[in-house]
């Protein structure tokens, strides 16, 4: 009888398995001097293959939200589920990239990418092949041995992206990965990221400050309020998965959505 129940539970779980399932999560940081509620009552369900962009004013808890998905920060209340399992500590089924590329200064580009494989104990040959594919895919060919300080900001960010993708994670978390880049490099990488997403079917959560980036890349945009961070609106982006940059930017849907988000964000300050 208990076994039957277990089976049933497993079955319903499987049917309902979202990539990411955040349920009424709150996160409060307590330090000696202060208590900060960074995230307040956020719920979010992200299906496999979705691309969710998160927008919000600085300090509203976007990074904290991503860290909770990764299990690097545990929620004060509420629950986070990742690929059908409750998150209780650092998760290995994800790829993570930050605003600063966070590369090892003493390693060349390729070896930086392969850090992922070394730390995971991946098969060497598989990892090497995969690294070569990613280097090709992101246009890093010819830069394999270049040290981080010999690379431009855009190149460094590509290396960080390759490192996050090396183990083919089902979920990719990106925390303002293009925030420090100039507009044109950023556009380039947006187009590349859209292609990578389509080709790999990875579930992606992207935190960004750029409204156009959020719309161009996302299948859905979540807008957060100033601290304590709450979701103030969820907007589906009604565009095909394959997107031409120029066309999206001039599409009327884009304009109305961007204008709406802009008023939301200016109102939340």
């Amino acid at each position: 009888m208990p076994q039957l129940e277990k089976k049933k539970a497993a079955a319903t779980d499987a049917a309902a398995t979202a990539s990411i399932d955040i349920r009424d999560v709150t996160c409060t940081f307590t330090t000696k001097r202060s208590r900060t509620t960074a995230v307040d009552g956020v719920s979010m369900r992200i299906e496999p293959g979705e691309f969710v962009s998160i927008l919000g004013p600085s300090g509203c808890g976007k990074s904290t939200l991503l860290k909770m998905i990764a299990g690097l920060v545990l929620p004060t209340t509420g629950q986070v589920g990742l690929l059908g399992r409750q998150v209780k500590g650092p998760q290995r089924n994800i790829g993570f990239a930050f605003q600063r590329a966070a590369l090892l200064q003493w390693r060349g580009a390729r070896k930086n990418i392969l850090l992922q494989a070394e730390m995971r104990g991946m098969d060497k040959r598989t990892a090497a092949r995969r690294a070569d594919e990613l280097i090709e895919l992101t246009g890093l060919a010819g830069f394999e041995d270049a040290l981080p300080h010999e690379l431009s900001g855009g190149m460094q960010q590509r290396v960080a992206l390759c490192r996050a993708l090396l183990h083919e994670p089902p979920v990719l978390l990106l925390d303002e990965p293009f925030g420090a880049l100039d507009a044109l490099t950023r556009e380039h990488l947006n187009v590349e990221l859209n292609r990578i997403w389509r080709e790999t079917g990875t579930t992606i959560v992207l935190v960004t400050h750029s409204i156009s980036e959020a719309i161009y890349l996302g299948t859905r945009v979540e807008v957060m309020s100033a601290r304590p961070g709450r979701i103030i609106e969820t907007m589906p982006v009604d565009l095909p998965r394959e997107r031409d940059y120029g066309k999206v930017m001039s599409a009327p849907e884009f304009e109305t959505l961007a204008a709406h988000i802009r008023t939301l964000l200016s109102g939340s300050h």
Binding site: G71, L72, P90, R92, R100, W106, M119, S152, G154, L184
Partner: protein, 293 residues
């Protein structure tokens, strides 16, 4: 349009594999040139000091027994070369062993302090205390405990030299990018591999700076140990020469002591450029940009 160059200029700036080896050769040449340009100014200063020294003594502006002529100093160095070499070797030996032990113990303590709160709370006060005690005051106690052999000198060298190693090691290890640590956690990395692949290499630039300070202090430790009770070493010879008012030997001895410090310092600098070329080349790059702007 300059903003657009970010990705486009990069291929030209970063050479492909065959070019890189060529550039490494060029880098060695650059290093030699840098060494030359770093050395000629102090050499001139040294020459000026030597000239003043020679002038003052040649004119007998100071009594000979107070300041010997450069000629007599080099004469003593040459005539007593085998004796001086022996004692230089003793002091060098004490210094190097003391330094190596200080490096080992210092790095070990730094790792403990960074990785364990308990170790930090119990070790840091002791280390600080050991640093605050005047080392010269411990020397007589060490002689009483360990006799007049090499060990008290080595212990003194360790005591003096290991503090900068601990401090720089702790600072370097603490300086690890927290995002790299987060990243490692999502890779399921073991503590050991995080230490070996991320934390320790990242701490090397600061650690090497500490080791450079430590090696010069180790010479001081060894010599102070010899002052208090020894039958060999440059510190012992210095006391003898001072007792005999043999100022030429005194000066010769002093020059040899300084030479030990300088040589060991340069050895660490070379080790640094071999161990962390990525750091050195970054510095080179920054000095180049500073020169061109």
């Amino acid at each position: 349009m300059t903003t657009a160059q970010d990705d486009i200029k990069a291929p030209a700036a970063v050479p492909t594999a065959p070019e890189r080896t060529g550039r490494r050769g060029a880098r060695l040449g650059n290093q030699l040139a840098a060494f030359g340009s770093a050395v000629w100014r102090p050499l001139i200063v040294l020459a000026v000091i030597g000239l003043v020294w020679w002038f003052v003594t040649a004119r007998e502006m100071v009594e000979r027994y107070l300041v010997p002529t450069p000629g007599s100093v080099f004469e003593v160095m040459w005539e007593d070369r085998s004796m001086l070499a022996e004692h230089t070797y003793v002091t060098l030996y004490e210094t190097v062993i003391g330094f190596l032990l200080a490096a080992l113990i210092g790095i070990g303590s730094a790792v403990l302090i960074v990785y364990s709160k308990t170790a930090e709370r119990s070790l840091y006060p002791i280390i600080l205390f050991a640093q605050v005690i005047p080392k010269i005051a411990i020397a007589p106690i060490l002689i009483v405990w360990f006799g007049t052999g090499l060990s008290p000198k080595i212990i003194l060298a360790v005591l003096i030299a290991f503090f900068p190693v601990v401090v720089s090691g702790v600072a370097g290890l603490r300086d690890t990018d927290p995002e790299l640590l987060d990243l490692s956690a999502t890779m399921g990395a073991s503590r050991w591999s995080v230490f070996v692949k991320v934390r320790f290499p990242g701490a090397l630039p600061q650690l090497m700076a500490g080791l450079k300070v430590a090696v010069t202090l180790a010479v001081v430790g060894a010599v102070v140990g010899e002052f208090v009770g020894a039958s060999e070493g440059l510190g012992y010879i210095l006391l003898l020469a001072s007792g005999n008012l043999n100022s030429a030997l005194l000066f010769a001895d002093l020059i040899l002591m300084s030479a030990i410090g300088v040589v060991l310092f340069v050895v660490i600098e070379v080790a640094e450029s071999l161990l962390i070329p990525w750091h050195a080349s970054r510095r080179e790059g920054s000095s180049v940009t500073m020169a061109t702007t």
